[in-house]
């Protein structure tokens, strides 16, 4: 135990003597998660949370145009722009402005659109009346031209954005057509002397949608927002960057002969290594909680949501320690494999960036292609993030994170075994 504690004290002294290095070790991750949470806030927001200017050209001047304008306005998602500098927007103007990227979206309501919908509703009503033996027939158009509401998108618009807008407009059109149809049927029924108050529209709303929490026991229900994703994700990324000081520390000890001296001292080198690992795992855990504090207290001051850490504190601590252990073991392997600090720095830093990119740190795994998701699930950073999400978002406990704990411990054990084998091979 003396060797273990002496090594922990030595590492503590070494780190705390290097004030600049110590500051950077804790400050840079804080800066990183703050910046990442800020810049990734918008992409993480649902489209419903954002407001867009929508150039509207209403060539119909009828009910459809009014419905669509009211519907868009009512959704709170769009600001209708139908005139520029006091002049109504034309279709050509709208097309050019959207193409230039000045507006994200424009809709063109064609002339006669309302008439087409009314005619269609009359046609259905006439058909129903005929079957019911009613004499009145509403006027219908003889021409059967199909009309389209035209949408222009900024060429740089994302597919998901286009899809969301398509869906929203489609809903408005369906709603207008449904309303007109019901109105026509009601008029026919009135002519037949049916009750003024009927329940058609009520019946149409008989089944609704209700989102309910899947969280066990009905506990916290946290929305995955930029803070909920970025703070744990980039914390794990920053924790893995501990490989740089660890690998540098090991290479330095090998180069300056102190590793040789330690190996020549009676007793197992493993006790010294354990002391070193324990110290760096503690640093990782402190880093982790410091970044969580940033998510809870600092980010809300920057108009970002507050981080919710769930209610499972012990599993969170265990997961943080396991991530730290995996990162430390990775640093020890790199420090063993590479001969110079430059080699270790380049490989260490770039490999962490790759592991984080495929592991869902930059963007969630769910939005990656299927084959990349499979590769990503091999990244220890993804195991760590999964475990944290299980606790923070799904309110899980040890039962939901033991698999990730096992994977992280297995990863650390494997890397240490490889480092041991490499070191042993060097002796020969």
């Amino acid at each position: 135990m003396l060797r273990l504690f002496a090594t922990i004290r030595k590492e503590y002294r070494l780190l705390f003597r290097d004030k600049m290095g110590l500051g950077l070790l804790f400050l840079m991750p804080v800066v990183l998660i703050t910046v990442m949470a800020l810049i990734q806030d918008t992409p993480f927001k649902d489209y419903q949370e954002l407001k867009f200017d929508i150039l509207t050209v209403d060539n119909d001047h009828g009910r459809l145009g009014r419905y669509i304008r009211e519907g868009l306005d009512h959704s709170g998602q769009f600001r209708i722009v139908d005139s520029l500098q006091g002049q109504p927007v034309t279709q050509e103007q709208a097309k050019a402005l959207v193409n230039r990227g000045d507006y994200k979206i424009s809709i063109i309501i064609p002339q006669g659109a309302t008439g087409a919908i009314v005619s269609n509703a009359n046609k259905i009503t006439n058909d129903l009346s005929r079957r019911m033996g009613l004499p009145f027939m509403a006027p219908v158009r003889l021409r059967n031209d199909s009309l389209n509401v035209v949408i222009y998108f900024d060429p740089a618009a994302k597919k998901a954005f286009k899809s969301a807008i398509h869906q929203a407009l489609d809903n408005f059109l369906t709603q207008v057509e449904t309303d007109l149809l019901i109105e026509r049927i009601q008029q026919q029924l009135k002519r037949k002397g049916a009750a003024q108050q009927d329940s058609l529209d009520i019946q149409l709303k008989a089944i609704g949608l209700q989102e309910q929490s899947t969280v066990p026991g009905g506990g916290v229900d946290v929305i995955s927002n930029s803070v909920q994703h970025n703070v744990p994700a980039w914390s794990i990324f920053a924790m893995f960057f501990i490989v740089i000081p660890i690998a540098g520390n090991m290479i330095r000890e090998r180069e300056d002969g102190s590793l040789l001296r330690m190996k020549l001292i009676p007793g197992s080198y493993l006790a010294i290594l354990a002391g070193k690992m324990f110290f760096f795992v503690c640093i990782c855990v402190v880093q982790f909680y410091l970044m969580m504090l940033v998510g809870i207290y600092l980010l809300p001051l920057l108009a970002l949501p507050k981080l919710e850490m769930g209610h499972q504190y012990l599993p969170t601590l265990i997961i943080a320690a396991c991530i730290g252990l995996a990162a430390t073991a990775y640093g020890i392997l790199i420090g063993t494999l590479f001969k110079t600090p430059n080699q270790a720095l380049n490989f260490g830093a770039i490999s962490i960036v790759i592991l984080s990119a495929i592991g869902g740190i930059w963007i969630p795994l769910e939005v990656m292609p299927a084959h990349m998701q499979q590769i990503g699930r091999l990244s220890p950073l993804s195991w760590g993030l999964d475990a944290i999400n299980n606790i923070y978002l799904r309110n899980g406990g040890m039962g939901q994170v033991w698999k990730q704990i096992g994977l992280l411990l297995g990863f650390a054990g494997t890397l240490l075994a490889i480092a041991g084998a490499v070191e042993k091979r060097r002796m020969n």
Binding site: L2, R3, F5, A6, T7, R9, K10, R13, L14, R17, D18, E255, D256, G257, S258, L260, R261, M262, K263, L264, I265, P266, G267, I272, R425, M427, N428
Partner: protein
Amino acid sequence: MYSIAVQDLHKTYNGSLEPTLKGLSFAFPTGKIVGLLGPNGAGKTTTISILCGLVKAGKGSVQVLGIPQEANYRERIKRALGVVPQQIALFPQLTAFENLEYFGNLYGFKGPALKTQILALLEQFGLEKAAHKETGKFSGGMKRRTNIIAAILHRPRLLILDEPTAGVDVQSRSMILQFLRDYNRSEGVSILYTSHLLEEAQHLCEDVVIMDDGRQVVQGNPAALINALPACRNLEDVFLHFTGSKLRD
């Protein structure tokens, strides 16, 4: 009893076609100061690494302080062995006292006894005033002296020094060499020492082993070797006589 007895030692590193040691043999009794000399690439570092148990020997036999190189050799030899590596094997951000305290702790020493011993050794090496100064700020000579203290904290029976005076000033070198003589005489510690400073070796060592190309080329008392070769005026001449003047990489 021999401090070190090496017989027909061979070593070829993994992945290397050329053997580093090609039947090295030498031995010297306990309590002597012996110089292991040779040009670059002669195999001195490999020999020391094998003696310390850091590298496995190939063919041949090795005995250090009567301990044969077999299973668990490294653990058995560690307690009796003090090694001063060529590099300054200290943590530059730690003070001399903290460095020595750490290595003392690794040996299992602690508390006031360790502190007293460290302070006494620092005083013996003229470093008492610099005890709480970071070793990274030491001069080359101060670092070398601290490097030696770290190797003798546990009172070894055999001290191996790899170029202990490389790059130090005359005063520090004189002090280090005098310490080694006194330490050998007062404690009866055997010393194996490597250096490229042959004048230093001539004055310090009771015996020298000159090796080249993985073999021993000659062993004997420096004065006796010089006298045996009429053309040689000093150990450097003897060295060049046996190893030749060809440049080594």
